[in-house]
Amino acid sequence: METTFFHVFRNTPLGREIFMQSLYFCKHTRASIKIYIPEFTKFLMYFDNDVVQVDLDESYLTQPTTARSHAIALAVEAGVEPFFIPPMNFTALTLPDVSVDFDFMCCPRSISDFSSKISLGHIGPRVRRIVNAARFPVLIPSSQFKEWKSIMVFFGGSANAVNALNLGLYLSRITELPLDLFTQAGELSQAHFIEILKEHYIDEEVEASVRKWHFFQEGKFEHNLFDVPHNALAVLGAYGHGLVKEMLFGSTMEMVQSTLPNPLLIAGPNYLAGSR
């Protein structure tokens, strides 16, 4: 079974940086890339329990005549074979639906915002909804392409974090890049987390595969984040502690992406590692 990666192509230099990150991801995880060159500013994604309307800003429709050739050129350069998906079904004349049958998707931090906000900024609400509803992990790229050489999984102990960890293990296996763990444990001991790993039968695999476990019992989260290598892919689970709690106390996801410039791979609550 092939793994597929969904990317919405933006025919601008900024879009190029994002696209190159998606291509790099696909190359190293041996996924095939499915590129959508938008013809309309809106499209719908029908998930299991939610329908998300994605409003792209006008720059996504730049120069449609050159978009395809640009995309092909970049893909060929990266060594990935490009596949294009035209919109098949339409909810209304100008509102296509896009299939959600992918294994990964690339979402810029804020899909509908201006180019300037692509660099460190908050994660747009639409992206959050996609993460929440989708069965696949979402890749949130950094603003500039940089080859990542290791994988850092943020393990907070929740069920979603375990999923993220399984995802990280899978990625490490298939890319053959080193895997590190990051846990901001506060008062909990490392044994507590090892217990959680045991419950899910992955303690041995973690023992064997993880290069270094950055375990912090002190210090502020944002400060400890400095330990994350500049060229690592950050993997984390979202909404691990319940939506309300996150809204009140802030979420790990928020904090990580506002402090780290690294690309993030976020596994939402409906993602089940190994389900494909």
């Binding site: 299991d48 069920a159 089940l272 389900s275």
Partner: protein, 228 residues
């Protein structure tokens, strides 16, 4: 009851994707909780029945499964027994005596089996030449035999069998199998062995049980090796 989705798919013999989709669409009385499905077993069984599906608890075990490869002929022959000096002056009496000798065959099945053998002989003789015959019932035996069996009977006196080459027959291999598949496999292997002239000569010397089975085993191992 809570089971993984994969397990439920296996029990219902459903494609995993299809099951997932039916749960999402609400067409099967299972609700999803993470990687598991929650359901009420009697309900699910009822659902399965009304949708012409089977709900299977244990892994599929086909009691008629023939082991592919691995010396089936030898095992069948071991079960069927090797007999010498079988009496009989003509085909029917020889066959009757053979049937009586088949181990573990309940008495009530002997007569039907004998009739089936005769019916088969009526179609065309099972004497395949060089003194060898391979009688078998016209239809697979669905009762009386649980696993395939080949009885080897060396006759006291060669008997006119209306064989293909008109030579009298001195050895019978009685093939009994509950399935057509089993029958064909045994027949195929046996004929392969019989093609070998040296084997037929070996048979003419009326070897003892051990030597006979050993020889057959060696030949079968050869076949298995070739098939890999």
């Amino acid at each position: 009851m809570k089971l993984t989705i994969e397990e439920i798919a296996r029990r219902l013999d459903l494609n995993l994707e299809t099951l997932d989709r039916w749960i999402r669409q609400g067409r099967i009385p299972v609700t999803k909780k993470g990687n598991e499905g929650v359901f009420n077993e009697p309900e699910l069984k009822r659902w399965a029945r009304s949708h012409r599906r089977s709900y299977r608890m244990s892994p599929r075990s086909d009691k008629n499964e023939i082991q592919q490869g691995g010396c089936v002929l030898t095992s069948a022959m071991e079960r069927g027994g090797v007999f010498e000096g079988v009496q009989g002056g003509d085909k029917p009496s020889v066959l009757k005596n053979c049937v009586a000798l088949v181990p573990d065959l309940p008495l009530e099945f002997q007569a039907p089996l004998y009739n089936q053998l005769l019916e088969r002989e009526a179609l065309i003789s099972t004497g395949v030449g060089r003194g060898v015959a391979i009688p078998h019932p016209r239809n697979p035996l669905d009762q009386g035999i649980s696993s395939p069996v080949v009885g080897t009977f060396f006759l006291d006196q060669p008997v006119d069998y209306e064989a293909i080459d008109d030579q009298p027959v001195f050895v019978l291999f009685l093939i009994l199998s509950p399935t057509v598949q089993g029958h064909l496999t045994l027949l195929s292997r046996l004929s392969y062995c019989l093609r070998d002239g040296t084997f037929v000569s070996f048979l003419k010397k009326i070897p003892g049980r051990e030597a006979f089975l050993a020889r057959v085993k060696k030949m079968e191992k050869n076949i298995d090796g070739k098939e890999k």
